[in-house]
C-alpha cells in the first residue's frame, strides 16, 4: 500500500520536473537536480520515468537510461543511491584542511561512526565529503541538509548533530 503511494509520488515528482524544466537536453541536469531534491536520491525507476516523460514528439528529445544514469553518477550533487534522512557534507578542500578540517574530519567520522559515503543502519545520516563550497572564509565548513556550519570545532559536533533526528 505504502509502496504504491511512494511509486506514484515518484512519478509525480518526475513528471512535474520535466514539465517545469521542459523536454530539452539543457533541462536534463536541472530535471535530475529537482528529482534529487524532492526524492533525496535518483532511483533507477526515476530515470526510467524521466526517459519516458522526456520522449515527446514535438521536442524530438532522445535520451537513454544509460545516458541519464551516466549524468546522475557524474555530478556529485546527484545521488544514485539511497541516502539517510539527513546528509552531512564535509568540505575536504585544502583551505578548510589547513584551517582545522584535518582534525575535525576525524571527529566527525567518530561522532557519527561513519566513513565517507556511508549511511548509518537507522538511515539517519549519510556522510559525504565535498569539494570546496565557496565558504572558505569561515572554514572549516560542514553542511547538514541545507544548514551551513562555519568555523566548526570538534566539541560543537554533538550539539550540531543532535538537532537532526
Amino acid at each position: 500500500m505504502t509502496q504504491i503511494a511512494e511509486k506514484r509520488g515518484l512519478s509525480d515528482i518526475v513528471q512535474t520536473a520535466v514539465e517545469k524544466h521542459g523536454a530539452t537536453p539543457d533541462a536534463f541536469i536541472p530535471i535530475l537536480l529537482e528529482i534529487n531534491r524532492e526524492n533525496g536520491y535518483i532511483p533507477a525507476e526515476a530515470i526510467r520515468l524521466a526517459r519516458k516523460f522526456l520522449h515527446q514528439p514535438e521536442e524530438h528529445v532522445l535520451v537513454s537510461e544509460g545516458q541519464l544514469y551516466g549524468l546522475a553518477s557524474f555530478y556529485h550533487m546527484l545521488n544514485t543511491g539511497v541516502v539517510g534522512r539527513h546528509v552531512v557534507q564535509f568540505c575536504e578542500s585544502a583551505p578548510c584542511h589547513v584551517q582545522g578540517a584535518r582534525d575535525l574530519w576525524k571527529s566527525v567520522q567518530s561522532t557519527l561512526n561513519l566513513k565517507a559515503g556511508e549511511t548509518d543502519p537507522q538511515g539517519r545520516f549519510t556522510l559525504k565529503t565535498v569539494s570546496c563550497l565557496g565558504l572558505c572564509g569561515v572554514g572549516p565548513v560542514m553542511v547538514v541538509d541545507e544548514d551551513v556550519y562555519g568555523n566548526v570545532t570538534p566539541d560543537q559536533l554533538p550539539e550540531i548533530f543532535a538537532k537532526y533526528e
Binding site: 537513454s64 537510461e65 544509460g66 544514469y69 551516466g70 557524474f74
Partner: protein, 663 residues
C-alpha cells in the same frame, strides 16, 4: 583541399580531415587506442598527441582538423617519451596481465601498442582495484578490469547501433562502463548486436563463443554475406580448423558499414539444430540412412512419371534463404522441365509479389537503403523495422539523435513506439484508406511538392479517419510532418505487402512522389523484403501462394533455413514428400526422402538483398562427408531424369523486371 606538413612531409588532404587520418594517408603511423575509424573522434587516450607549431601544448591528432599550412611533428623525443609513459599509466591502471587475457597475443591493441613503443616493463605498480565481471549476457562478457576507458563501446552502442545501452558511470579513476541504470548487461536494453565487442581494443568485452579459440594470427577471415534476412550485411567469417570461430561485421560493407545484429553475429555460432549427415529414405514407415545413389534413385523413380503433369504432378517449394544458384536451378527444373503448376518459395511472395507486379508496369521504383543517411524523416508503414530488419533499424535509430524524425503507423500497438516521434495504430486492413487520407490532407493543405488533383479529398479524409480509427488531428500531424520533411523516406513492410494489393503499392508510390520521397534521382520508397534471397525469388517468379490441391508429390528445398509450423502443417497431407535440408526438423520427420545439403557457409552462392545488391557468400567450411551442395543435388536429380538444365542464374534473374536497380 588543405596542405600541411607532417614530419617534414608535404601532404594534401580534403578539408575537415583530421591530422591522424592525414598522417595515415601519408604512411605515417600515429599510435592510438581510443580512435576508431567508424566512430566520432574522442581524444581520450592521449596516445596520438602531436606537436603543432604555434600551439602551447601538444594536441590529440585524432580530433585535430588539418588546416592550411599546419606544421606537425609526431616523433619528437618528448612525444615518444610521453606515449610510452601514457601507455604505462594504462597498464598500471587496472588488471592488464596478458597471460590470462583472451585477446593477448595479437588481438589486443593495448598490447600491440606496447610492443610498438618498445615498452619493456611497467614503471608503476598496478592499482589492484577489482571490478566485478559481468557475465550475465548470453553472448559476451563485460570485464571492467581489462577496460582502458576508451569509450569505443559506448560510442559504438550509440553512434553505430543507435541503442545507447552502454554508458560511463562515475568519473575520474572510478569511471566504469555500465548498461542502462547500472544493471547487469544480460538484463539490460542491450539488443545483443555485439558491435561493442567488435570495437573493444582490449579484453574488456569478449565474445563467449570465440573466447580462447585463437587470435588473428591463427584465423583466416573471409569476406562473405549474412543470410539472416534480406538486408544483406557484409561479414567477415573467422575460421580456424574448419570451424567458425567468430563472425564480424565488415566495415567496408556497402549496406551495413560494419554493423551486424544478434542473428547475423550469433545465430550461426549457437546453432543447436541436429545436422542431417546421410540421405534418408522411408522404409516401413521409418526413415533410414541410405546411400546417395539409392536416395536419388528413389526420388527420380517417384518424380519422373509426374513430369509434365502440371496440376496433379509435383508441387515444389524452396526456401528464400537458398542461394540464387539453387533457386534458379530449382525453378528451371520444376517450372521448366516438370512444368509443375506450383513452383514457389517459402515466402510465397508475401513481401514481393505486389511490389514486383507494380514494377512490371512502372519499372523500377524502389530506392536503396543509403537514402537513410540523408533522410530527415522516415515513415514506417506496417514495418517493425528494428525487430524484423535489425541492421536497417540501426541505420534509423542512429540517425534519430542527429535530427531524423520517425513516424510509424502500424495495426499492431507498440511498434517503434519507444523511438518514434509519432507512433499511430490503424485498424487492420485500413492501409489504403490511410495512405489515401494522408495524401488528401497534404493536397487539401496545399503542402504537396508536386501537383496532384484530388477532387474528393474531403471524402477521402473522412474515410481515412473512419477506417483507420486514428483521430483527424493525429493523421494531420503525421501528414504535416511527412510533407514538412526535406528528404523523407517511406519504408513499408510485410504489413503492407502481404495484402498483395497493387493498388495499395501504387497509392504509396504516389504519396512518395507527393512528399518528395521519390523525386528525380532520389528514390526514398523501399519495401522491407523477407529472407536473404527474397528479391532473387521474386525475380525468378517464385512468389505465388502455395496451395496444395491434389498434387501427388511435393519437393521442398529448405537448405539450412528454419521451417515454419505453418509449412509443416500444410505438408502433412502431401502423398509423397522430398525434403532437401541441412538440419532435422518437423518437416524432415514427415518426409519420404531427405537429402542432406550444405549450409550457407559450406557452399558458394549469391544473394540479392532487399535493395537489389547482388552479393556473394563464400564457402568457408567443409560440411560433413555425405552432405552435398544444394545446387548440385538438384542438378543430379535433373541428370537422373535426363532433363537438361542450363544453370545460368544471371540470365534467369533478368527475365523479370526488378522493382529496384540491381547492382
Amino acid at each position: 583541399m588543405v596542405q600541411l606538413t607532417i614530419n617534414g612531409k608535404q601532404i594534401e588532404v580534403p578539408e575537415g580531415t583530421t591530422v591522424l587520418r592525414a598522417a595515415a594517408q601519408a604512411g605515417i603511423t600515429i599510435p592510438t587506442l581510443c580512435d576508431h575509424k567508424e566512430l566520432t573522434p574522442y581524444g581520450g587516450c592521449r596516445l596520438c598527441i602531436v606537436e603543432v607549431q604555434g600551439f602551447r601544448v601538444p594536441i590529440a591528432s585524432c580530433t585535430l582538423p588539418a588546416t592550411q599550412g599546419m606544421v606537425v611533428s609526431t616523433e619528437t623525443e618528448a612525444l615518444k617519451k610521453s606515449r610510452k609513459f601514457v601507455l604505462s599509466m594504462l597498464f598500471s591502471e587496472r588488471n592488464h596481465f596478458c597471460p590470462f587475457c583472451q585477446v593477448s597475443g595479437g588481438d589486443c591493441e593495448l598490447q600491440n601498442a606496447a610492443y610498438h613503443e618498445e615498452m619493456t616493463h611497467w614503471p608503476m605498480q598496478p592499482g589492484w582495484n577489482n571490478y566485478p565481471v559481468d557475465s550475465t549476457h548470453p553472448y559476451f562478457v563485460l570485464d571492467n578490469n581489462r577496460c582502458i576507458l576508451c569509450r569505443r563501446c559506448v560510442r559504438a552502442c550509440g553512434e553505430l547501433a543507435g541503442n545507447f545501452t552502454l554508458s560511463v558511470a562515475e568519473r575520474g579513476a572510478a569511471s566504469i562502463i555500465i548498461a542502462d541504470t547500472n544493471v547487469p548487461l544480460g538484463e539490460s536494453t542491450c539488443i545483443k548486436c555485439g558491435t561493442c565487442v567488435q570495437v573493444c581494443p582490449t579484453g574488456a568485452l569478449i565474445d563467449r563463443t570465440s573466447a580462447y579459440q585463437g587470435n588473428e594470427a591463427q584465423i583466416t577471415p573471409v569476406k562473405s554475406v549474412c543470410v539472416g534476412c534480406s538486408v544483406g550485411c557484409s561479414v567477415n567469417l573467422l575460421v580456424r580448423d574448419n570451424r567458425l570461430v567468430r563472425i564480424e561485421g565488415d566495415w567496408t560493407g556497402p549496406v551495413n558499414h560494419g554493423l551486424l545484429c544478434e542473428h547475423g553475429r550469433y545465430d550461426p555460432m549457437t546453432e543447436s539444430r541436429q545436422r542431417i549427415t546421410s540421405p534418408l529414405v522411408r522404409k516401413n514407415g521409418q526413415l533410414e540412412p541410405v546411400s546417395w545413389d539409392e536416395a536419388l534413385g528413389a526420388v527420380a523413380d517417384k518424380l519422373k512419371p509426374l513430369a509434365g503433369d502440371a496440376h496433379t504432378g509435383v508441387a515444389a517449394i524452396a526456401s528464400t534463404r537458398l542461394p540464387v544458384e539453387t533457386l534458379s536451378m530449382f525453378k528451371e527444373l520444376f517450372a521448366g522441365e516438370f512444368k509443375a503448376h506450383i513452383v514457389t518459395s517459402t515466402e510465397e511472395g508475401m513481401t514481393t509479389a505486389a511490389v514486383f507486379a507494380v514494377a512490371e508496369r512502372m519499372g523500377a521504383f524502389e530506392g536503396k537503403l543509403d537514402v537513410l543517411r540523408t533522410a530527415d524523416l522516415t515513415l514506417c508503414l506496417g514495418a517493425d523495422i528494428v525487430n524484423s530488419h535489425m541492421v536497417a533499424g540501426f541505420l534509423i535509430k542512429r540517425a534519430l539523435p542527429k535530427g531524423m524524425r520517425l513516424v510509424s503507423i502500424n495495426p499492431q500497438a507498440g511498434v517503434l513506439e519507444d523511438l518514434a516521434d509519432l507512433a499511430l495504430v490503424n485498424q487492420p486492413g485500413s492501409d489504403l484508406s490511410l495512405v489515401e487520407g494522408l495524401k488528401a490532407i497534404i493536397v487539401k493543405e496545399g503542402l504537396g511538392r508536386t501537383p496532384l488533383a484530388l477532387p474528393n479529398a474531403a471524402r477521402l479524409i473522412e474515410e481515412a479517419v473512419r477506417a483507420t480509427g486514428i483521430p483527424l488531428e493525429k493523421l494531420t500531424q503525421a501528414a504535416r510532418m511527412l510533407a514538412g520533411a526535406i528528404s523523407p523516406v517511406i519504408l513499408f513492410g510485410k504489413g503492407i505487402t502481404a495484402q498483395r494489393s497493387e493498388h495499395l503499392i501504387e497509392s504509396l508510390h504516389s504519396l512518395a512522389i507527393l512528399v518528395g520521397a521519390v523525386e528525380r534521382e532520389r528514390a526514398g520508397l523501399i519495401s522491407m523484403k523477407g529472407e536473404a534471397n527474397s528479391t532473387a525469388a521474386a525475380l525468378l517468379g517464385l512468389d505465388a501462394p502455395f496451395v496444395l490441391n491434389g498434387q501427388q508429390a511435393v519437393f521442398a528445398a529448405i537448405g539450412d533455413d528454419y521451417v515454419s509450423g505453418r509449412l509443416v502443417k500444410r505438408l502433412v497431407k502431401a502423398p509423397y514428400l522430398v525434403v532437401q535440408a541441412a538440419y532435422q526438423s518437423k518437416l524432415t520427420e514427415q518426409a519420404d526422402v531427405v537429402l542432406p545439403v550444405s549450409t550457407w557457409a559450406e557452399q558458394e552462392g549469391h544473394y540479392i538483398n532487399l535493395d537489389g545488391r547482388v552479393q556473394k557468400a563464400e564457402k568457408v567450411l567443409t560440411g560433413p562427408e555425405a552432405v552435398r551442395d544444394s545446387t548440385a543435388v538438384l542438378g543430379e536429380i535433373a541428370m537422373r531424369m535426363n532433363m537438361p538444365v542450363r544453370a545460368d542464374w544471371q540470365q534467369a534473374i533478368r527475365e523479370r523486371k526488378p522493382s529496384m536497380a540491381l547492382n
